[in-house]
């Protein structure tokens, strides 16, 4: 070959390679910077919270310490408190849905999201074990109180849509801040007659957050609110020498850790990330676990998480894995539970981007 021709072609090749690399980078940025699905703002809810009465705690008769670690007894339990929380903080009887009010503070869709951001900036340092809280007379904190007396807080599916991995969630930071702030206020005035009420309010708030049982993170925040409130009750009861209340709140606090551990067990497989791809033939065993969870997990949120993972398998698994995932999703799409059915229908048609797959692969 003519040596000059070799040099010229080589030089052209260098330019082509560099240009190709740059094009790949630019295309990747375009995908990243591509506008997300347009956010439809939620209509603001301006009605006041319906009047509500909160019954007093029921008598703590026959308290038992649940054995979450027991191999036979504990394994089949739903991941919720075994202790009746009505002995600490019964729910109010308000006829409203607290989710209608709280949804306005959602970060993306909420009409009052700016107020939530401002509230986060108003926080002050609370007790070291609690962290940042709103001032005790913060107007937003006071506005939230009657909503904690309602009987129901349900976001899905009427208020927030079910969209697989893109399912919007309420403002959980604000929710957590409310609970912390009430407890901090109670602990700041331990001898006040409303101190116990503040801690009970935090527990009610957590119970309301757990009602949906759709997303794991919302449930964990609700669980945290309950723990904070129960811990506050324990501290106040300890100061007052109220042994029955100390015992009941201690048992409730003791159930917090096992539920978190059980949550971890039910969203991971053997502690590892669930990564099932076309190359992962060993993923068949993991797929067995996923299918079983999607069908049989005792709590809906874990079934929903398994359904979302099956969406990945349906797209990325081997041929046999994809078929099995599709069959399972079809079965769940026909289920009576409208939330699981909606998630399964999403999973059967979803096409996940590389960015979403990469994020899911590193997040379980």
């Amino acid at each position: 070959m003519n040596r000059s021709r070799l040099y010229v072609l080589g030089a052209c090749g260098v330019v082509v390679v560099l240009a190709t690399l740059l094009a790949v980078r630019l295309l990747g940025r375009e995908e990243r910077d591509a506008p997300a699905k347009p956010v439809v703002p939620l209509a603001r809810y301006d009605e006041p919270a319906p009047p509500a009465k909160v019954p007093p705690p029921v008598a703590a008769a026959g308290l038992k310490i649940p054995c979450w670690g027991c191999p036979v007894e504990g394994k089949s339990w739903p991941t919720t408190f075994r202790t009746d929380l009505d002995i600490l903080a019964p729910l109010g009887d308000g006829a409203g849905n607290a989710a209608l009010w709280l949804k306005d503070f959602s970060k993306a869709e909420g009409s009052r999201s700016e107020e939530a951001e401002k509230a986060a900036k108003r926080r002050v340092e609370g007790p070291p074990e609690i962290g940042k809280v709103l001032p005790p007379d913060d107007p937003l904190l006071l506005e939230a109180e009657p909503w904690a007396d309602q009987a129901v807080m349900r976001f899905y599916p009427e208020i927030l849509p079910l969209e697989g991995f893109a399912t919007p969630i309420p403002n959980l930071l604000l929710s957590l801040t409310f609970a912390k702030s009430w407890v901090a206020r109670g602990l700041a005035n331990p001898d006040s007659p409303t101190a116990l009420d503040d801690c009970r309010r935090a527990i009610r708030w957590g119970r309301l957050l757990r009602q949906d049982d759709v997303t794991v993170i919302q449930d964990l925040i609700g669980l945290a609110c309950i723990r904070i409130g129960a811990q506050g009750l324990y501290d106040l009861a300890s100061r007052r020498g109220d042994m029955p209340l100390m015992l009941a709140s201690a048992i409730v606090v003791g159930e917090h850790g096992p539920q978190r551990l059980r949550t971890m067990e039910l969203i991971r497989i053997r502690g590892d990330a669930v990564v099932i791809s076309g190359e992962d033939r060993a993923g068949d065993g993991r797929l067995d676990v996923l299918v079983d969870r999607a069908r049989n997990a005792p709590d809906r949120r874990f079934r929903g998480e398994a359904v979302l993972q099956l969406a990945i398998v349906r797209q990325e698994g081997t041929r046999a894995q994809r078929q099995r995932a599709e069959e399972t999703l079809a079965e769940i799409a026909a289920a009576k539970d409208p939330i699981l059915s909606a998630l399964a229908r999403w999973a059967r048609t979803a096409t996940l981007t590389k960015a979403e797959l990469a994020q899911q692969a590193g997040t379980m």
Binding site: N2, L18, A34, A36, Q309
Partner: protein
Amino acid sequence: MNRDDLFRGLEPPPPPPGLREAALRAGRAAMAAAPARDTWTALFTSRSLRVAWLTAVLVLTAANLFVPPGRAEGPGPIRRLDPEVAAIGRLPGRGGPDLPGIRENGLEGDRL
């Protein structure tokens, strides 16, 4: 009969005078001159093309260095959790720190 008389007039015309010397002179000159360049050589030795190529390589290299690659995390549907909320979602065990699924941005972590 004289044989030469038979073919008189049919002889080829003589070459022009001085042609032989001119041809030899041209041949000597061609032998002494450099060979003609082909297209590839012309391209390879062109100064302007070399400058253009070098400029292109430098620009593309700089662009590749300063343009960050597209990241796996897109705005997409997956947002990031408040760090305080994410701290609660950070469950014990291997396989990654955060909950799968939905995320939003957040602030500093907290003890829960």
